[in-house]
Subunit: 436 residues, 2 copies
């Protein structure tokens, strides 16, 4: 039985999960690959901290060059995260003919245009199932099972931290900051949660999904990104009164030569499947011209689920090696040269219903002023709640609009926020009604 050698670059949480799988399911892996799958080297700057598992000291090294230049290593698992030095290491490994498995969405979303062509040229694989949706097999499903479909939309709940926070805010009618603080205490949110709560992590993942689903190259910078930090428990409660749930949604749509790619808090009808995904779970809903709607759910993060996805990719590459071939499917599903060029729809041109929350002085005529400005900007109101009088001077006024142009909504809000009666910046949340 031949041996396929794997190098692990980055011995953090997920790396520890990978080592656990090698140890615990070693025989199973070799059986399924038809070759001995061997963890040959682990490189990290820190090789002394106890990770809670027993590791042969001979595997550990701080010398990354010994791995990247080793003629022995067939597959490099990159789990160091971030842009640099991950980018340089991955490019070097590719040039040296090594296949790459990575969970690094930031790297691919920003440097995919450099890394993926390099891999194609070198005839090696870059697999990244773990980069999107953790244990959810979406990338493979898109590349393989849906390959006969023109995918018209991809929607996702892709960040467990945000979904956990929004779920708890809804359940406990608690404030964003209180839930975030508790989530940090419990390990569901990072000490610096910016990437998660501001939607950056979700946008990284959406860039990959859009590129793959639509056969194009979408840059991270092209994605409109708005996080959840301005959401209040009141908004979630109002959403429920209107029959919606509030989710941080990644939305990719393809229509003609135009792509929509946006990440923002979104109200979705409460009976829509994605609305039912709560807590740390992730979900990806795909719509293909033949398959119709398909939804995949699972743990979007966590040591073991992510390590499972990483190792699924390792097995896939190992089977290719065992079959005597290099890359079998290009990283984006079709050759780089055949990727299409699409425009990304400017956010100002979005047409969708909106939820608008104003905070105004509690005095007669307020609604007339607000609705007058909205009408002037071609925004018509579907329903309105002026929920309960606060003891303070300011009261919330909540409106749901019919379909409106985002540019008009922004202009109207700017104008309204200039009014003396408005006590704080108004909030808008986009509503998705036509989700497929």
């Amino acid at each position: 039985m031949r041996t396929i050698n794997v190098g692990l670059l980055g011995f953090g949480t997920i790396g520890t999960g990978v080592v656990k799988i090698f140890q615990q399911n070693h025989q199973l892996l070799s059986q399924r690959v038809g070759a001995e799958l061997k963890l040959t080297q682990i490189v990290d700057l820190d090789i002394t901290t106890d990770r809670g598992i027993a590791v042969d000291k001979g595997l550990l090294s701080t010398d990354v060059q010994s791995m990247l230049t080793s003629p022995e290593i067939d597959i490099v698992i990159e789990l160091i995260g971030g842009y640099e030095p991950a980018r340089s290491f991955v490019l070097q490994a590719i040039r040296n003919g090594k296949h790459i498995v990575t969970a690094n969405k930031a790297l691919l979303a920003l440097h995919g245009d450099e890394i993926l062509p390099a891999a194609e040229q070198a005839g090696v694989d870059v697999l990244y199932e773990a980069a999107v949706g953790g244990g959810i097999p979406a990338i493979t499903a898109i590349k393989e099972n849906l390959a006969a479909n023109r995918i018209t939309s991809v929607l996702g709940i892709l960040n467990g931290t945000c979904n956990y926070i929004l779920t708890r805010m809804a359940e406990e009618q608690a404030s964003f900051s209180a839930v975030l603080a508790d989530a940090q205490k419990q390990g569901y949110a990072e000490a610096d949660p910016t990437f998660d709560i501001e939607g950056v992590d979700t946008a990284h993942k959406l860039a990959l999904l859009c590129s793959l689903c639509f056969g194009t190259h979408i840059e991270f910078e092209q994605i409109f990104t708005e996080g959840i930090s301005k959401i209040t428990a009141l908004d979630i409660e109002f959403a429920r009164e209107f029959g919606y749930k509030l989710k941080l949604l990644a939305i990719g749509k393809h229509n003609g030569d135009m792509i929509e790619a946006r990440v923002h808090p979104t109200m979705v009808p409460e009976n829509y499947p994605l609305a039912k995904i709560d807590g740390v779970f992730n979900a990806i809903r795909l719509f293909g011209d033949f398959v119709g709607p398909t939804m995949l759910t699972g743990f979007g993060a966590g040591m073991d689920a992510t390590a499972s996805a990483v190792m699924g990719d390792v097995v896939s590459i190992a089977r290719n090696i065992q079959a005597g071939i290099g890359s079998r499917i290009p990283p984006l599903g079709c050759p780089m040269s055949e990727l299409a060029q699409y425009s990304v729809k400017p956010m100002e041109e979005l047409v969708t219903p909106y939820y608008l929350r104003f905070t105004a002085k509690d005095q007669p005529g307020v609604l007339a002023q607000i609705s007058g400005i909205l009408g002037k900007h071609n925004i018509s109101i579907e329903s309105m709640i002026q929920p309960h009088r606060h003891e303070a001077e300011a009261v919330p006024i909540v409106l749901m609009t019919h379909d409106a142009l985002e540019r008009d909504v922004r202009n109207a809000l700017s104008e309204i926020d200039e009014l003396d009666i408005i006590q704080q910046e108004s909030l808008m949340i986009r509503i998705e009604e036509n989700l497929d």
Copy 2:
């Protein structure tokens, strides 16, 4: 660009969907394969009926041998269904070095032990994503993404007809026979619905899932199979009162050297993800030792969704051919020679809570007699409903038990059904509480 030739055997509903995909997404397919993917021949006994799509007459033939022996054909799509002549045709095609794509779960569940080794020997692929869960990418997910996991359980709602009937019975409090009749009228149930409603179709699919998930060979005959025809709207209503939903569940579990493989109406807690899958949707929930729970949902049947799955497999094989290799992954995920031998747990040894419905004379002492017999058989009662007095003499008595041994339950029910006070055969429905 080289050409990969595909033969379609069976021009029924799904076959028509396949032809539509070839026509509508032809360029996309070739782009994703890196070769021209060509539908070269369509064989069916009936080549005159109008399928609602324009087909080049030169493609159509009634001569199956011309396809099976053609040196030109690389991939045969088998969509004739049933056991014979599908079995003979598939075996002949394999011997002639052709790859097979099939949606025929009955064929594989009964003759997989003949077909799969033949394919392994010939070095060709037999792919069957469309045989389980229609458009849901479960087979690939198990083979590829979860390959690093020991899968400990697979649960599925695998038959759209049954799920549609149960959903409508619940929504309309309608009888099984009334909903079935209407489902037949609307095309959601076959004229002869036996295979669907008696759980046979679900059991065929579970046989494949168990074999693949657990790396073994489970025969269809080893699967305990009970359908939904005895379920009444009353049972569904009682289930709801106890906090459960009623689903026809396929249940596969692996524990040590023992496999559980069973199909029966099952009460699942209403907040459990599978409980929320309604109508014609299918769902498959997998639990792996690292990935944790993963659930895949989508259309389980239908022309287009199934054709999408078939064509996903065709693309997969075409990519292998393009890469210059035969089969890359054995049909059951590991070589046939390495499949494990497990015992299937006899149904009498199942331990689970039960829902029991008795129909008894409306007279004092009835409950005492029933509970006395249950107690004698070591069955303890968790809760009881004696819902409302009927005008007729017979009243329903509904019990939920604690964990009990199926053998005991069966013996107790036989004894109870002998009592004079019992007016019709008692019903038991198994409850699943520990679903992962």
